[in-house]
Symmetry: C2
Subunit: 338 residues, 2 copies
């Protein structure tokens, strides 16, 4: 199945905090349940939480008792506000909310008609996400040569999207074309998406993967074990790529070693009317750093930082792979000016 | 008490794998127990395992039933071989073993006399380590300005030495001089010496510390939160500093951000007759990466790398603080040539 599905008024997804040891499905009937799941990172990955937000609004619409369009729109706006407060950095939920809200406003008829439009639009966005990722894979796979070892960070696979993945989708596409590809996956502290999710997906698909700690990136690069880096993005602003904490560290190291650093993301991640100094970097609970699952690792009372994302200036980015093709940071600038 | 002590035929130390949740003392009577404790990282830190190796040989000498000097020397050589096989990268155990062996060979008298010489020499080395660290602290503290935030990696404090510490000793010395210093400590995966040990020592001493994951180094540097980096060393060769995995990553980032990168280590860590391509980098059990304590985090069967150290070329090193003063990488070259 897809990572997220709409089943007649039920949003079904995998609880990613339980992977890889348990495969637990979450069934949600209310928008605030979707918001909580996003908050707790049961659902994560910028494209996935974008579609999840759309489905959250679809749940509100589906179960609404409103009769007039304006009343439904008010309910949708309240649900949207709950969703907007979950995770401020990823662009995709904001994009998804705006798209649903616009569609709802433009729809004609009573609340029932508009609700149907909303549910259909959320469904369409889920379908589009898969198609978009396939196209990202197709474009990006041209950048991968037979025999390449690709380093990747966090999880950007089918678990981070509706299906297929962005950066991991590129690797998957190259693999499906018969290219020999190996992956070095960083474990991605504090939440270990690399160790838990990327390793799980690649192993399932038979793509060779070697796990490293985040601290080993410099070591593997200096030992010439990395040909290319592919990562995803949570928000692409005019001057920088904002992505999972640790991305910037990898980008600087890639730059120092002359290793191409590619970002793979749908255009729905783009926020080209803003720059990085306007971006909000989510600061999560420091217990994610001082604890490991429920086990305390640092002494009682020790302060910790926990920014969930960092900012990689375009200087370090070789290219951005989107569903529309491979763009240079220069193309991006022009895209904005147009 | 000191981190390691000789108590009439007993070597007493702290089991560092149990910190910070439990303070458990290890009492060892045999050299192979010392070797096992080093192997399992119950004892760790280059200066500490140097002195531990000397004490291991002291245990062999103390309990030896040999009557003739040659027989004792043979036993010492066998114990030395066990110790040499524990952790190949750190220089200090090799240095300590050579020093004890030379002292034993030069000693006159029967096995009893030589045994006494060995025990005394091991004691002297422990005392010297504390004095050496104090001097490193004194020299290094001149590099720290009032108000500095220092980023450090792994643990280089009293727990990594007999007492006081190397890089953490420098921070401690600056603090004792009344300078306001804050520390950002990396957690240091996979063994978490930063989260477990550095945070523990600094908190105990009242020095402000903020814990980060290794992946946050680039982020805190780009946000101008770091004034200087101080790390220790496991082996300093002519062209590079070999230290805990993750050090090289930090050095490249410091270089990119124009942040001074200092190494603090006793001259017993120096191996200037060799270069980095001759160095052996210990590869430890991959389960340290795929598991967290005893809990599996990566899926069954996933491959992992686990180099315990990495290599930082001198290009990235601003200076090396030793008990003899602050040396530039250039001084080091001359030191070798002399």
């Amino acid at each position: 199945m897809r990572t997220i599905e709409w089943q007649d008024g039920l949003v079904v997804t995998i609880d990613q905090t339980k992977l890889p040891s348990e495969l637990v499905y979450l069934k949600m009937k209310k928008c605030h349940e979707v918001a909580s799941a996003i908050n707790d990172m049961k659902l994560r990955g910028a494209p996935l939480i974008g579609v999840a937000a759309a489905y959250g609004l679809a749940l509100t619409a589906y179960y609404s008792k409103a009769e007039r369009k304006e009343d439904l729109i008010n309910e949708i706006e309240q649900s949207a506000e709950i969703l907007r407060r979950t995770r401020p950095t990823a662009m995709n939920p904001f994009w998804a909310i705006n798209r649903i809200a616009r569609k709802a406003r433009e729809a004609s008829g009573d609340a029932k008609d508009v609700a149907k439009v909303i549910v259909d639009e959320a469904q369409r966005m889920a379908d589009e996400d898969v198609e978009t990722n396939r196209k990202i894979g197709e474009h990006g796979s041209k950048l991968i040569d037979d025999g390449d070892t690709v380093l990747t960070h966090c999880n950007t696979g089918s678990l981070a999207t509706v299906d297929y993945g962005t950066a991991l989708g590129v690797i998957r596409a190259a693999w499906e074309q018969g290219k020999t590809v190996s992956v070095i996956a960083t474990e991605t502290r504090p939440k270990l998406q690399g160790a838990r999710l990327t390793a799980y997906e690649l192993k399932r698909d038979g793509i060779p993967v070697t796990l490293i700690t985040d601290s080993m990136v410099g070591s593997v690069m200096s030992r010439q074990m990395v040909d290319k880096v592919f990562v995803g993005a949570d928000r692409i602003v005019r001057d920088a790529v904002i992505n999972k904490i640790g991305t910037y560290t990898i980008a600087v190291l890639a730059h120092e070693h002359g290793i191409p650093f590619y970002v793979a993301a749908p255009t729905s991640t783009m926020d080209l009317s803003h720059t990085s100094n306007e971006a909000v970097i989510e600061e999560r609970n420091p217990e994610e750093v001082t604890h490991f699952f429920s086990r305390r690792i640092a002494p009682e009372g020790v302060k910790a930082m926990n920014p969930a994302f960092d900012v990689t200036p375009m200087k370090y980015v070789s290219a951005i792979v989107t569903e529309k093709g491979v763009l240079s940071p220069e193309d991006l600038k022009q895209l904005h000016e147009v």
